[in-house]
Chain length 357, copies 4
């Protein structure tokens, strides 16, 4: 592991914030899958910066140039590689000054790991820009999943203390997921979305940033997916989800909420429904028991930390002379990463699911 | 993946609740590591059932019989396998009736995945008993880590709504971790421990169960461990932690708490300390930035669901005739799995760390 | 990699010549596969020592004790582990004297790798005894393959300069393969077998040993198995075949013979046969083109070196005082490993194929 | 596995004969390794077509465009990706007619595996052109190895029945390896090289092709590299070597020759040399015992089949109407692939070694 993930379908991500290009190779896609590139670009656009005040005003053109693996609109079965050229990189903004390590960023840990040879420009390989490659890969996987009926969607469950409605985890409509996964900054309640914008704007005006939680669901996932013990759905999902920069927590179903309730409250009781299928009356398990899917919606949540790049002066250390100092990060930043991270979470869910199916 | 985990040091876990034996093979341990078997047995004893009212009264003798890989008390460099014979298995208690699937257990999902051939006796390969193999493997890894100065310890942060003190994440004493990791049912505050016992006893008397949260820390972990993007410390840890039965959430550092605070609150500011080392004034990151360790304590928390085996009648489905019915699970159960899960969490942390070093 | 092999079905081999036991865990077998243990024991017996003068007179009872993964004669889908107790180990014969490293053995390289902590008794984890675990695992995989029509068989193509008939690679009868794979010391020509016995006896009487070649075939392998580029059938097969101790060469189809012929001689021309299937008129490719099966028999050959344990005095080095000296290996040895290696080769082919299917 | 290989340093190869570009991502290279791009281009040139009559007259410009992972001439520690644009692709030459499957090529097996969606243009992902990506990756690995003293070189041991001198396997000079690895069509004996050219020309004039054997060596490889059992040096090397198109056999040290000799002839006897190091008097083992290096030169040989593309009419099948027919492959072909394959073999050896170190 490192920048390659997966067993059946492997994703190899490459590039950095200021390299010539970033990209991704997807190895193991079945042959003959029709790829609708418009849909892919739509997902890329959901993640792209510069859409509104909640995001950074950079105008990167996240256009994925597919150089192999696709012929006449269908996958060939060979590795599929897409390159996204970095067009709008102002190196001066970020500066190549690892001596003043930015708090909350990977500057210092990159310095520990790679020494002075690390590419510090704009966060290098640690940059959130790499998630564009994940969105591309996920957009392909998602089209294959959709053909099997599996629908994925996510929304901002909270920004700071502003909450959206939660999914009704026993009964998540595909219409809702399809709507969420086609919007920029997906939120179930339009009222909550308004308040979230206000919350973000508040922090932006203070040259600060704010965190949030994304809730994601996948419905119509076949029963019996996942393996004991280390191949549990939770293990596979969390392994890729914790690769998204800024994620500090992952929970499934009721998640940390299960710690405060009793077994009689938490156990999802079985019932045969009108279609003769076994369902559960609640879905505290998030569709997963013993690491294996039970046919109920898979539901999980991720905690995103506030963007570490803030306009405020912060204490740091000069790693050259090892003296305490302070530093103000300049440059273009997202006051909240959550809106743009929603399609990234959906993409990772799609990549994880295609490996589990 | 499935029942094998790891890259440098691989753990292969086998067996089920009612098979002849369970066991584990550890492949990749360096040669010449002295193993103190008394210390290993101490860790096994911490997880073993029957220690007090908080645990099931079964008297399994979790004695690991090392059949290879160890010579005169030192690792040979070849795979090390230990077998733990299942001595006290009352099949009648559990029953082999997959037609009445137990809510909250893996019975139904095992049926979906493996059909009637699955070993349903006592949960089979899904049984919590398998964690004895993890504790054994972790006890060996831990001794190797300790020789490098790395110390791991965990405690019950909460049982239901009863809370223990949190770790002071910037300054966790090795003495505290050593104390916690040598006790049964480790809790920082003795007062909280009393209350937790009462809480568990309350649910036990109601034939019910209760969940909780375990907090774990590792100190003196070398800087620069972990890989971007998919080999992040969080990815590697969560991948094995979510393999522990009953875990529904994993968070690092401030975890889900980061979603409600600003960047200026969350960023851990750098400072050179009296020893000339770069430390952070807070440790909201849990010792990990960009997926790589920064030398501060690694801190993470896991949510455990309440034991699904409860003595109350529960609605379920008869999978043979597909009719709704109800069911009361008999047998011996833990009213709370958290006390016995503490050494399992520490063991998984040790296995994860030895793979990252 | 190291002592674990495979992706879909993983084999984890453990133990050494003089450890309490050796064994193997097979992870990933489908549930519900009926296992005929008599057939498994038959394969174990083919490899077991002491059958005739061609083999060592040790009387190990290679009885595999299945401790989990099998219930009422069917696989459960959980890891299947078998333990083979080492009953007849005379440590004095082998001696634990790594200071006099045996030529042709792994003593010196084990010393380089693991130092004095390596288990040198009888070759430790490098011992040919470990192949009993492979035969066990292969015997299970083979039964699953047979149910799909895939039949595997091997024979001693040569012992020293004595040659057996080669397979008719375009038309290998399943009857022949079934016959070969049920015999001890399988040879197509009974006349050649007689001469091979004589050849081996000649070397045995001289306290020497002799090498040979094993040819193996698999028929009815589905078309389209294998992956470009690194997942080629040849890559996967060779990866496990070179793990058999004493193998120094692996070739597919015409193998090294292709180096001396022209393209017009080597190309296997296509033809539609009476059943409307595309076959090739020759099978120089050994059933594999571009790393992928074409439906023709898979044919490959392995070169086995002569057993390094010989009764003659040999020059070696005392690794303690680093002086040149000489040494005579005592103990019980096979004058030719080929007869007993035949079922090992078949087993590895079965393990490889079940991973490719 | 499939188009990704390696554990510590992973190689992900992508592209096909007629896609926009081919390329490779190398994941896991240490940071701070100086890369001399002139040396890399020299290796690329050795493999490039069109150098003389022995090779195809195509004029591809195999220029590797490094898009990330390299900064100011040093590796950054992040994945390093190079793209080689396909500039000179005459699709008409190859034709996209899978209905007439070319004997000896992967056309039919690709059709079996991927169906009509496979990219059949010029062999697609099965094309020998992909080896340019291997040479690029190997050229980088080689520079890192050279800094540790490890030198790799290969030569054409035979073309058809014309033989070159073999390596003196106990004493291979680095000068010889350096000379071989800087030439196009490396042969030890200049006289043999002349005859090889004549041999190739003979087959070229007959619109035919011819096979050969490449012998490769690596010296100064540290002792103790490789793992029992499945991580043996032979397993790791063969796994990548059999991925080179046209390879049908791999042998180490004396290889298939060991099958005809006795143990007393084959065992490499130990001796302390003038430098106080343990060496072997012969090197039949090819530097590997028990799968682990003993410090002697690693020596191995690969059998290459004659290029399947020949100008002669050949019998084949029309896969559309399933009728027998015949076919003459037009286009530009190598009458012998061996000269251009030499740097590919060296590259794969470098990639394998950097994973083993």
């Amino acid at each position: 592991m490192s920048s390659i993930w997966g067993e059946k379908v492997k994703i190899s991500v490459f590039g950095g914030s200021h390299t010539t290009a970033i990209g991704v190779t997807i190895d193991g896609l079945p042959a003959g899958e029709k790829i609708d590139m418009e849909k892919v670009l739509k997902q890329m656009a959901r993640r792209a910066p510069g859409q509104d005040l909640a995001a950074t005003p950079r105008c990167e053109k996240d256009y994925p140039n597919v150089i192999c693996g696709l012929l006449n609109g269908f996958t060939t079965g060979a590795p599929l590689t897409a390159i996204i050229v970095n067009t709008n990189t102002k190196s001066s903004d970020y500066g190549c000054v690892p001596e003043l390590v930015r708090p909350g960023h990977a500057d210092l840990t990159a310095l520990y790991k790679y020494g002075e040879y690390s590419d510090f420009r704009g966060g290098g390989h640690f940059s959130g820009r790499l998630t564009a490659a994940l969105v591309f890969a996920g957009a392909l996987c998602r089209q294959i999943l959709e053909r099997k009926g599996v629908i994925i969607g996510a929304h901002a469950l909270s920004i700071g203390k502003v909450k959206d409605a939660e999914f009704d985890s026993v009964n998540i409509k595909t219409e809702l997921l399809n709507k969420l996964s086609s919007e920029y900054f997906s939120v179930i309640s339009s009222e909550a979305k308004e308040k979230m914008y206000e919350e973000i704007e508040k922090y932006r005006l203070e040259s600060d940033s704010i965190g949030g939680v994304i809730e994601c669901a996948a419905v119509n996932v076949p029963k019996g997916i996942g393996e004991p013990m280390f191949g549990s759905v939770e293990s596979v999902f969390s392994s890729i989800l914790f690769s998204i920069p800024a994620v500090k927590g992952v929970e499934f179903g009721m998640g940390f909420g299960v710690s405060e309730i009793s077994g009689s409250e938490n156990n999802d009781l079985y019932r045969v429904n009108e279609n003769g299928e076994i369902i559960t009356e609640t879905n505290n398990a998030g569709g997963i028991l013993g690491g294996i899917t039970n046919g109920m919606p898979i539901v999980f949540r991720l905690a995103f930390k506030p963007t570490p790049s803030i306009g405020k002066e912060q204490k740091t250390v000069n790693t050259k002379n090892m003296e305490n100092t302070s530093y103000t990060v300049s440059g273009r930043h997202d006051p909240c990463i959550v809106p743009r991270a929603i399609p990234v979470v959906e993409a990772c869910a799609a990549i994880a699911l295609i490996n589990l199916l």
